[in-house]
Amino acid sequence: MITAGRIVRLAERDRAVVHFFLDGEMRGALAGDTVLTAMLASGHALRKSEFGPEPRAGFCLMGACQDCWVWQDEGPRMRACSSLVNPGMRLRTTPPESWP
């Protein structure tokens, strides 16, 4: 699998490939990846900070810091570190257009 992203896969590489969509583009991940792992396997950030110019890529990975919330096409946000990626999931790095 191509990993041009932030993370490096060091073990457990023989899992089934699943596909999801990020900002409308199809991406590959492995079954059992968290949304955070899946997004950072091919990218460098999860979202933009609302309070500064910098992108954000998570911080604690244990559900405590809430840095890794990402948008879904259908509206609700999810915590990327504690949600597993599902085939066909549609994720966004920016709020959906319907968001005020």
Partner: protein
């Protein structure tokens, strides 16, 4: 299940403390409810990867594999035998007068309890370093979780900074797994580390194992460093700027930083449950008050790193003690745990050694440049905290209201201790006198929709 007449005991957290507490209650014939945020029980240190991962406990937990195996097997057996109710993937977001709100896949449910055992664990204790809001800065625990639960390194070239046992452990685990660790930077100088030796000798094997791990870091390890700035470009972290013990400046290029200074107890639920707190000078943080067994009063018991930062072994003991206290208070036969209490004293001595050897970097936090971010959630700067305490005085919640430090989504978990140091320095009082940020429900973000089901409030008990 004949639960109608027996008391309802709810345990929050399924790490070493929660599992041991549950097993102790089951042995006494009770049927506890265990609520945990994880998908599979184990907590953070004995965290299990999702289904489909194949590494063995020996590969995942090293020297602690047997303990992890035993805890996982015990809990899985209690669940399989129907001896307890396990609510996985569920967060307790509020506690009030014998009832708590549990947020799970199906929304928010009310759960009532007669006794509550909180085994909420700890997270990394972090201190701001200029630039730490950049993408690619993680806690040390995050680097370990990524490796353990996902089999990944969080970057291509990693620098670890901070102080404490996790700094060395995560460094060696990453190197062993094949990650590129460029440097391991310890803010504690050698002479400071030596001061902890006497108490660390309370657990000679653990101390020796730590030294052996340290040796594996080789020339990557530097003690007594000064952390100056995390440099970043548009993608995220690009380098760590630091000075060694001889004041020479270094710029180490990297795309990832892992940081942490030992642990910070997770106490939000204890706060909402009405526990009293004291500022612990040894641990340099606010901790809930309990007796030796973990009794906090009002039918609430605390166990594990959420009340005493003794690590996984201490958490197993504390879980048994809290459950025994609970049983005794209910007038039920409780196991005698004299040996556990003696072992606890030894673990406490070891913990004192750790604290002395690897201290919280109070001076670094107090000297933070004005433009440095203190609160990562909302990018509140050191200047804003200082100005707010000039204007509003030294009380923590007043400064929080004025500057918004501690009001972001993490609810102060990662900025509170540094903010308190800044306020203390600015106003000339002690961190204990500054006070602590009050806990607020919900202690995890909860979507409004989670409180609604078919357009109506789901009142009543559902578990």
């Amino acid at each position: 299940m004949s639960e109608t007449s027996s008391p309802r005991i709810v345990i929050v957290g399924a790490g070493p403390a929660g599992i041991r507490a549950a097993a102790t209650l089951v042995e006494a014939g009770l049927h506890p409810v265990v609520i945990d945020e994880g998908n599979r029980a184990g907590g953070q240190i004995y965290r299990r990867p999702p289904d489909g991962f194949v590494r063995t406990p020996e590969q995942l937990y090293g020297s602690e594999a047997a303990k992890a195996r035993a805890l996982h097997a015990l809990f899985d057996r209690l669940v399989a035998d129907g001896r307890l109710t396990h609510c996985a993937d569920s967060s307790v977001i509020a506690v009030h007068e014998g009832r708590l709100q549990m947020l799970g896949e199906g929304g928010v449910q009310l759960v009532s309890y007669d006794r509550l055992i909180l085994a909420t664990g700890a997270s990394d204790r972090v201190a701001p370093v200029p630039g730490w809001q950049s993408a690619g800065v993680y806690s040390l625990g995050a680097a370990q979780i990524a490796l353990k639960a996902q089999g990944v390194a969080l970057g291509r070239r990693i620098v670890l900074v901070g102080s404490g046992p996790l700094l060395t452990l995560v460094g060696t685990q990453l190197i062993k797994a094949g990650a590129d660790v460029a440097a391991v930077l310890d803010t504690s100088p050698w002479r400071q580390q030596m001061r902890g030796l006497w108490d660390l000798a309370a657990r000679p094997l653990v101390a020796l194992r730590g030294l052996a791990l340290r040796a594996r870091l080789g020339g990557r390890y530097h003690a007594g460093v000064k952390l100056e700035e995390i440099e970043a470009d548009g993608k995220g972290v690009s380098a760590m700027r630091w000075r060694d013990a001889g004041r020479r400046q270094h710029l180490t290029s990297c795309d990832t930083i892992g940081m942490g200074w030992h642990l910070r107890a997770e106490t939000h639920l204890a706060d909402l449950a009405g526990c009293a707190f004291i500022y612990d000078e040894q641990w340099r943080q606010w901790l809930p008050k309990t007796d030796r067994m973990g009794r906090a009063g009002g039918g609430v018991y605390l166990a594990g790193d959420g009340v005493r930062l003794l690590g996984a072994d201490g958490a197993e003991i504390a879980g048994r003690l809290a459950a025994a206290a609970c049983l005794a208070d209910l007038g039920l036969p409780a196991p005698s745990l004299g040996a556990d209490l003696r072992k606890l004293a030894r673990l406490e001595r070891f913990a004192r050694g750790l604290v002395r050897a690897f201290p919280w970097p109070a001076a670094m936090a107090r000297a933070l440049p004005d433009n440095a971010v203190v609160c990562r959630c909302e990018n509140v700067t050191a200047a804003a905290v200082r100005q707010s305490s000039d204007f509003g005085g030294s009380e923590a919640n007043r400064v929080k209201a004025l500057s918004r430090v501690g009001m972001g989504r993490c609810q102060g978990r990662y900025c509170q201790l540094a903010a308190v140091e800044l306020i203390a320095a600015q106003t000339g009082c002690t961190p204990g006198a500054v006070g602590r940020f009050r806990g607020q429900a919900p202690v995890r973000p909860a979507p409004v929709g989670a409180f609604l089901q078919d357009g109506s409030w789901r009142g009543g008990d559902h578990v």
